[in-house]
Symmetry: C2
Subunit: 690 residues, 2 copies
């Protein structure tokens, strides 16, 4: 009956035909990987079939934008996090914190997220459908251009072309039917210009475009509501009274900023220093698609490096300055090109293409990390944000983008948030968030200062007195200068004070404003923040694509060539057969592997070795250890490498040493196995074909 | 100026006096720890001062029940998670998954959380205050008993006693003023009985108690609203339309249950197997207090072990059966005792005190884990839940409770959820969630079966036909039996079908219900779930308490005696002075430590070695490596042990080997340092006093 043979059925899905798999050199593998075009459906089928991930709540029909990681996906994610922690937190001595996801309204209002972290949506009041405004304008104009091309005879079937396009972007097509209508040349040009700038429009601008070009519901033609900002944060209420409004954090950064003073003290007040945090963040996407690339709940790893705005040099810059990278700076993009500039980080900083050493240092360290975990170097570029696409807090930003079948995807942001966040939180809470630097040479500083004649404040302002005083004491230098002028000219000035009705008038009896020169021994400054921010899920998906290929001998036989360091499982332990003589030695090897803390799985399912290996190639398991009848006698085992299918033989101890050296100590296959004997057994070679 | 001396000020808080610290044996340490009573304020001051944790959003006044972990707390948490993952997931070959926290309404409605995961609250309609009903009844009755005691002359000052009590429980006192009023002896007895059962009352029962004993707002005396269920889940809306209601998960378990079929297939359909998940869960406490013990967002580590309900034996039971534990079973508690029964797990299972081997196995593994991470064995007990305190899904439950200054705290639950969750989800989604077991000996099974005359269903029920059919095909055996009887007696029966108005009548033309005997080759069953569930934050706090003590020579000098395995930082690297000759060797040792991936910190702050060590004793750093002028010559260094302050000396390589053996390979201090030389340098001994 079919029930029992699940494992057989399972295997038979992989290896349908008997094809002999050849041993391959690194060159062979490269060729093989280049030969067959990448097939996303096949990758997804492997990833879901092997339970790397699955749509969350599948049993209940699923919820778009939510995914669960199964055992191999979860192990892969853990290994990437572990590598990240070692690469950044341990090597760079960062201060890791774990802050709450629940965040009160007040904090995110101050940070700007309540007002600005949103997309524009328009609702069809008749059908209740909701469209993301920029996506809608983009699709409708693209469809019209396609229709124009068909009318001009440049495209045979505009609808088919649009379908291809939608599939590439994995979007549900909103425009169901394209009509072949020729447009004026001027209109074509206008449409193309709009599409080039589509990421930069504000909501009202999108609304104007929709009106001007008559863009409505693409199916019914019905006019839509004007674009409304839809805040992308998930809202909730904290506590039973429902009065404390909160959100799920959109980034881990705010928790780090709010703990700035404690972190600085923990670091013995030394600067520069960095904090780091790894955790889930949330984004209530309007209509998420594109699989793991656009999700509503995602793992981030974020660094906030606090640095003197006047000195952004980095002590370890020399260590990375010769690394060559592909840069796509703003001016190249503005000139309409996507051709990257390849230069060293040292050159990029020297030419000020990249603003400073610290930014350059992190860009290089991001590159090193991505290489470590299996990103294809030729599919990585660093693109500078255009002025109109930067987040509200960013002064500059370079994205580490990875090329996938969905196009170039932003996977790591490296933003200069300047002093934005610390400044706004400090202003709101009236707590200083500053670094104090002892000056070797005291300096003279001339500043506007205000003196209050406090005893007059109570009688004059009564209950408002504290508010007025606080307002005056927190005025900026510019403000003080202009008020001083008014005071000089008119003997009085007026201000608006939060929480006090009307204008407040102050005269020279109440306040005195003077410029004074003082010797300062301490410089007090709000540090700049350089923020490398990693979208772990996007990186994981990109590594899936970059690692996936098919054996040239059999296109149905797929391999995920993960670096051993991050592979979910390191070793597949396979007894050649179910014979009882192999059980003791298998148990013993398993015990040694467990004691060595090398993650492994035993497959004693009894199907052919070739089938068992094929399955584990799909799981990305880099090593196979085969136990045969020789093993039972002399404790020697065979070690198989996943990509080349090469095999070597040696004692259990030496094989485990090789596995450890290659996996954790950075040895190559050749270096790691130099003391082991090349091995081609007839039985085994046959096995791979069955 | 005071700014510059932050690090000095920082140190001076720790070591105010010059006290000579003595070398201590393990016995000495035990005595020292027992001698000074535990002082919670002092522990908290160390934990906050060293930024193990801090109230989240402190800068904004804080939000109760939300805490952030600073660098040492975060590292400690990571190490505990790492130990957990190795102890459970790797050693037991569990399938780890990472599921989303956002969970749609439907799932939690089915699991029972929407209806049952709540506390009872009462509102004062005048003041808007909200009280948790059980806490209110408890406090008011306790206050009246205290007042009675004062009236009887048994207590001098009832208000002072109540204040002490409130502080012990870290609750804000709701009853502000206790009156010395004598109660009838009967009433005293009634109150005491109610207090003994306070955790078991339902909302309506609490309401009755409040009415009967005239319990209102303790300050104003005002009558309160009757207790209302307040659901403890955080609610949110998924997507822009707001139509998909969701919650933040209250446990990680549901995600694991929903993926059951995929996990079973991943495991090649072999049972028993376990899944596991580590992640944040949420609980919107009515008014959280008790610091890290009752929080609104917390890290859980949960295992769902799926096992045949007819065979709950465990293959590795023998390995743990001789472990002796303290058990507090239900019957002992019912007899009013809290005296635990100490016996081996083997005896506990043999006597059926613990129901089965799998439950016993996990209880023992929980014990082993807790010992590994620093729980005090004498402060651990396993308490069986009383029938009225079990969660709605549990068939049996043993809590691993840790004794703290707040009393015995539930830190690990080990529940038998039976087939509850898989059954309800299966019923709701109509997807089978079962294990299929091939029977070696086919068995005859007699079952009720129903046949539908489908061609009559369409004409008779029209659009409702599918609903009626589905209802009939999903009827239970009991249901079928009773309907068969009705059919036999009356030739018809009626049913209520979800989504169909009125009653549906069926006769023997439409359906046939018969008992049939068949030979089955497969047994199909819903597995039972044994669920060890760890509240990581509570465990962390308990280990803080269990590890904390003060040096007998100076009560202001605190130590956190974490096991090296989980200590946030393993090594403090201290150059004896700031002399330039020590810089190269310090840098070199740092490089070796970094390469060995042993987490360490350098303290070259220039204050005395004693002060530097005192600070790190508070951080729980188990080892100090001192670099002196000898080191610069011969590369030997001194290794100091935190608790005993013993020192040994050897080459850098040997010292690092000792650190590694003690930290990661389970060696004791004596075993690890047997090749190193005992060391008492005059300069160094002095240093600890300064």
């Amino acid at each position: 009956m079919s029930f029992f043979n699940i494992s057989r059925r399972f295997y038979s899905q992989i290896v349908k035909k008997s094809v002999k798999i050849k041993r391959m050199s690194v060159e062979d593998i490269k060729k093989a990987r280049a030969a067959v075009p990448f097939n996303r459906e096949q990758l997804e089928s492997v990833l879901r079939g092997r339970f790397f991930y699955a749509p969350a709540f599948d049993l209940y029909g699923g919820v778009s934008g939510l995914y669960d990681y199964g055992p191999p996906g979860c192990a892969f994610q853990n290994n990437i996090i572990d590598a990240w922690r070692k690469h950044f937190i341990l090597e760079e001595d960062m201060l890791e914190v774990d802050c709450t996801m629940l965040t009160p309204y007040e904090v995110l209002k101050t940070s700007g997220h309540v007002d600005k972290f949103s997309d524009w949506m328009c609702r069809d009041l008749k059908t209740g459908e909701i469209f993301r405004a920029d996506h809608l304008v983009e699709e409708v104009l693209e469809a019209r251009l396609k229709g124009d091309q068909e009318a001009r005879g440049l495209v045979e079937d505009a609808n088919a072309a649009a379908k291809d396009d939608a599939e590439k972007k994995k979007r549900k097509k909103k425009v169901k039917q394209i009509k072949a209508v020729k447009l004026d040349d001027d209109v074509v040009k206008e449409y193309e210009e709009i599409l080039a700038k589509i990421d930069g429009y504000s909501g009202p601008e999108l609304g104007e475009l929709m009106e001007k070009y008559d863009i409505g519901n693409p199916v019914t033609g019905e006019t839509l509501e004007s674009p409304r900002a839809f805040n992308l944060m998930f809202e909730t209420a904290i506590g039973p009274s429902g009065q404390l409004k909160g959100y799920l954090r959109p980034e881990t950064a705010q928790g780090q900023f709010l703990n700035f003073n404690k972190l600085l003290e923990f670091n013995n007040s030394k600067t520069p220093f960095a904090s780091a945090s790894i955790g889930k963040s949330f984004r209530n996407e309007i209509s998420p698609r594109a699989g793991l690339l656009r999700v509503r709940e995602f793992l981030m790893a974020e660094i906030e490096h606090f640095v003197d705005p006047l000195d952004k040099s980095h002590p370890k810059f020399n260590e990375i300055k010769d690394i060559k990278l592909s840069f796509l700076p703003r001016d190249v993009q503005e000139a309409g090109s996507t051709e990257p500039i390849v230069k060293t980080v040292g050159e990029a900083v020297a030419s000020r293409m990249v603003d400073n050493e610290t930014l350059g240092y992190f860009i290089a360290r991001i590159y090193q990390f991505l290489m470590k975990i299996g990103v294809d170097e030729s599919k990585l570029r660093f693109r500078q944000h255009m002025a109109n696409e930067m987040a509200h807090y960013a002064a500059d930003c370079w994205d580490g983008e990875l090329k996938t079948s969905y196009g170039w995807i932003e996977c790591v942001g490296c933003a200069d948030r300047s002093a934005y966040d610390l400044t706004v939180h400090s202003k709101k809470t009236k707590e200083k968030l500053v670094v104090r630097q002892k000056l070797d040479n005291p300096i003279e500083v001339t500043k506007w200062e205000i003196d209050l004649t406090k005893k007059l404040f109570g009688p004059k302002f009564r209950k408002d007195a504290p508010k007025v005083e606080s307002h005056l004491l927190n005025m900026s230098q510019d403000d003080l200068a202009s008020k001083a002028e008014l005071l000089k000219a008119n003997g009085k000035f007026t201000i608006k004070v939060d929480g006090v009705d009307g204008e407040v008038e102050l005269d020279d009896k109440l306040v005195k404003i003077e410029q004074r020169t003082k010797v300062e021994h301490v410089r007090e400054y709000v540090p700049s923040v350089i923020e490398p921010s990693f979208g772990i899920g996007r990186i994981i998906y990109s590594v899936f694509e970059h690692s996936f290929w098919n054996r040239p001998e059999d296109n149905a036989r797929s391999v995920l060539s993960f670096p051993p360091l991050v592979a979910p499982t390191k070793v597949l332990l396979v007894p050649l057969s179910n014979h009882k003589d192999l059980v003791p030695v298998t148990t013993e090897v398993a015990k040694i592997l467990r004691k060595s803390q090398i993650p492994f799985k035993i497959d004693d399912s009894g199907v052919s070795i070739g089938k068992r290996y094929a399955r584990n190639d799909e799981l990305g398991t880099p090593f196979g250890v085969t136990i045969d009848f020789e093993s039972a006698k002399d404790h020697s085992v065979t070690l198989r490498e996943r990509d080349s299918t090469k095999q070597v033989r040696g004692s259990v101890e030496n094989v485990i040493k090789a596995i450890r050296d290659i996996t954790y100590n950075g040895a190559s296959w050749e270096e790691g196995t130099k003391d082991l004997t090349p091995f081609i057994a007839q039985a085994e070679a046959e096995a791979e074909t069955d």
